[in-house]
Symmetry: C2
DNA sequence: GCCACTATAATTAGGAT
DNA sequence: TATCCTAATTATAGTGG
């Protein structure tokens, strides 16, 4: 079980594996973005769009400004 | 040496440590964003703004559309 | 398909130089 | 201070249910 090798930076051709990877890594990116925002007092926003139809929805994230408001 | 404990999701108050963390995690976020884009054939873009003046520059990232063009 | 598990890779906080 | 190192934590690909 578990990861068998290092990450090879190349499109995953298998649709099922690519879709699973997409969902797991999207969740991971969101967690990392929130940690950066909170730990380091930053505003972070991102947008992710699947190009191969693995996910029809556009995804976005914004670190809530309430952590450290810059306005008013 | 090395990390001494789990991540506590709270603003790092020490300016020096926060700045170091900001730079390291910004680099980490960019790497994760690029991996998501390439492995899973997605468009990914983000913006990061330091709120506490640890970094005067706004940072942005965009996964090059050349990986999997959706236009034309 | 989802969820849980877990072996392994990857990240990173703090120390070393 | 700026890298570099690495212990320890965290992320995740594959598996099983």
């Amino acid at each position: 079980m578990g990861r068998r090798g290092r990450v090879v930076l190349r499109r995953i051709e298998d649709r099922v594996r690519r879709g699973i990877c997409f969902r797991k890594r999207l969740a991971g990116l969101e967690k990392k973005a929130e940690e950066l925002a909170v730990l380091c007092d930053a505003h972070v926003g991102f947008v992710v769009l699947s190009c191969s139809g693995d996910d029809a929805n556009p995804h976005h994230f914004a670190a809530p400004a309430t952590y450290a408001p810059i306005l008013s």
